[in-house]
Chain length 454, copies 2
């Protein structure tokens, strides 16, 4: 490993410069106007894989392209599938960014750019680690496959089909994903649980145009009032989701899990201060950590209706809409919940308006067996690179495709987050510690060795 | 009157061209960027009054300017105060306008422009009628005072002060306002009741930035969820406003009023079809006409929160806000309701967010005595100009200052609407029938004569 680590040390600045190149491509998957940039980002990743000696291809799909790469065959060695994504979240509100989102710059030891941590920076650590092996040792100790998609932020629709149609090509012993956070600065973690997700838009159509609220108010249904009624009816005062049967399939936290979580050095006050809120909130009987990692939730992500300019405009809006999302936990079925949710919305709908529920994307949650040999191998690699044994955590976010990969390929998934919780993954001023980027590369290089030893 | 009517007939096209001039000025009072246009529109009105022989001035206020004009003194004749406004509603959504809102054009006998009916077109009828008297008869039979403001659409704040400080200057026997609708095409009406209004913005501040709903969902309060809870709590399923004591001061409709309203040829089906909705809605026990004219209401005018772009963005928004308005009926006090409303919002607020209630504008409602001699005079003038006796109606909209004028000047108010209900007063494609514009001028000219005879 000595030569490899020396190589990584020497190439630090070159790795950073290459990451900057990819960060400069505004590959926002939700924005149809960015299709060209999405293509460019995928091509960049494929070119990079080819440049370090991989077989690599850009696969055209019905959605955004998928990059697939394979390392030179190592007979008898285990096969690892690295999953990541080159697409990024939208940037608005743009005016809150201190530096432009697609002009990466380093301030106070952090790389600032959209995609820095989610997921371009984290994903590339597994590419640079392979480069280090190949350039310094002339070989890799394992077989690596890369599956890097461009639709993670919008539901991975094309990838699901691709995986279903290519289970032999993608066959592997374990899956490695770095798209989450450490437990805290310098405290690595292995994430053994992910929440699932179900995203919707609810559109309430009232009159065929905005109407004068004096002439019509009180005698026709206001679509924004109707929307408020639906939204309020979806969630209880304490945060309990009101969709019938929503909690039926939730696997309760074990006593061991609750104890492990309680023992983690998690400072609730600091957590709330970081979010800029004064109070905790959520389901009674659970800690903040349990709520965010292991309990399903309902959130409103956006509201749009009527007049949003300066001052007053006394209208009944023609329509009102909300973007909403449920976070699901392992064993909850997005399909079952979809039906119950739609039925409830219909029940909550007021007369005189048309209510439409538009499904956007959904994915189940995931739990990884804690006794997997790959978890043990990852534990050793992380301890080596961070100088500290990882803690076992769960993650409140969703990586929709990981559950699919796990199911289709029948392989364990290693969720190794190199980022931090306050990296602003979906917010303005997204960032990634330079040190985390380097530690990620070193941990990844060591991981290939530990897995080879299994 | 023969010479006057001939004059009006001959000048029809010139009147229309002058109205177009004023409509071309985008005097949107809610938009701070339009202050220059507001000033230009006020100056236009003042210049017009001066051109036909009035004393006229543009009064600078803390808000938008007020135009005040006086006709040459007629000893022993009654004095009529004409109230109107030269400001207009915002135009958005702009993309729904068939022709640009400030480029008036005539299609199918209608003038299309923002302000065509509300209130530039209606207000000018009383200026052109005076011009007809002065140019053809060399005199007016009454003393006319003009009070034309630029803040009607945003609450008439400056005007209230102006009226309070100038009650002698504005002293009059009756007030004439044309800022409402006929009962239907060719069926004139005298409006004896106006609803009041109270406008607010509710702002819910959550985290200090948009947060990843995976990392934070379920453990901090979502401000859009908190807003939905407040909005839903303000109004019952049947449209009953939930503010404690809201209905305490409401004067019930008399049996006579209910009978008069029931006898009006009002086609509910046509009314709903016109609004593009399938169903009636509102307080049980009232007809649609009673609800819109004589019952107080709650409406959401606009909603803003989080991500409103294409696709999904899984965030907890940093803030959520709603513009709302209550329509009040005569005898309800905006001040009493203000306090009870704020108390209720506070009670409905969830923990973990800051809720701010921003009052925008408020005004009480108005009822005019049906046995006033001025009502009788107006009735005759309308029957002469329209060939049909007016019906007595109420109006669901608010003209905040009319109640103030009535109280301060102790004069009856004549609400003579020349427009139509489907003139799109606060919507895209606002319009005014050319024929209604001309009938308004003729009715106004006759009104001065009928009032002189009292």
């Amino acid at each position: 490993m000595g030569a490899i680590e020396t190589y990584v040390d020497e190439k630090c600045e070159a790795f950073l410069e290459e990451l900057f190149e990819l960060l400069r491509i505004p590959s926002v998957s939700a924005d149809p106007d960015r299709a060209g940039d999405i293509g460019a980002a995928g091509q960049w990743v494929s070119d990079k894989l080819a440049a370090i000696g991989m077989k690599s291809e850009v696969v055209v799909t019905k959605g955004h392209p998928i990059v697939y790469g394979e390392s030179p065959k190592v007979e008898g060695a285990p096969t690892v599938l690295v999953y990541g994504h080159y697409d990024v979240q939208p940037v608005d509100p743009l005016e809150l960014w201190i530096s432009p989102p697609f002009e990466p710059e380093i301030r106070e030891g952090r790389i600032f750019a959209r995609g820095a941590t989610d997921d371009k920076g984290q994903m590339l650590t597994h590419v640079f680690s392979a480069q280090a092996w190949l350039q310094s040792e002339g070989r890799l100790p394992v077989n690596l496959k890369y599956l890097i998609e461009g639709e993670e932020e919008v539901g991975s629709a094309a990838l699901s089909d691709f995986v279903a149609e290519n289970t032999e090509k993608l066959a592997c012993d374990c899956i490695v994903v770095s798209d989450s956070a450490q437990f805290g600065p310098g405290q690595p973690a292995i994430t053994y649980g992910l929440r699932g997700i179900a995203c919707y838009e609810i559109v309430v159509q009232g009159p065929n145009r905005d109407l004068h609220s004096g002439s019509f108010g009180g005698s026709i249904t206001n679509p924004a009032v109707a929307l408020s009624r639906i939204l309020n009816g979806l969630v209880g005062e304490g945060g309990q989701v009101q969709v019938p049967g929503f909690y039926d399939d939730v696997v309760p936290l074990t006593e061991l899990e609750r104890r492990q979580m309680a023992e983690l050095p998690f400072d609730e006050k600091q957590y709330f201060r970081q979010a800029g809120v004064s109070d905790s909130w959520g389901e009674a009987g659970y800690t903040a950590l349990e709520r965010r990692w292991a309990r399903p939730t309902f959130d409103i992500n956006g509201l749009t209706s009527g007049y949003q300019g300066t001052g007053a405009k006394t209208i009944i809006p023609g329509r009102a809409s909300a973007k909403i999302s449920f976070r699901l936990v392992p064993n909850q079925s997005p399909e079952t919940i979809d039906k119950a949710f739609r039925d409830l919305v219909e029940k909550l709908a007021m007369p005189g308006v048309k209510v439409e529920v538009r499904g956007m994307h959904g994915a189940p949650g995931l739990l990884v067996p804690l006794d997997s040999p790959y978890v043990v191998a990852a534990s050793k690699a992380l301890e080596h690179a961070f100088g500290k044994a990882p803690v076992m955590t769960r993650e409140g976010g969703s990586i929709p495709v990981v559950a699919t990969l796990h199911r289709q390929l029948k392989a364990d998934a290693l969720l190794l987050g190199w980022g931090q919780d306050d990296d602003n993954a979906h917010s303005p001023n997204e960032r990634f510690l330079v040190e985390d980027f380097y530690r990620g590369i070193r941990a990844s290089a060591r991981l290939w060795e530990e897995i080879a030893r299994i």
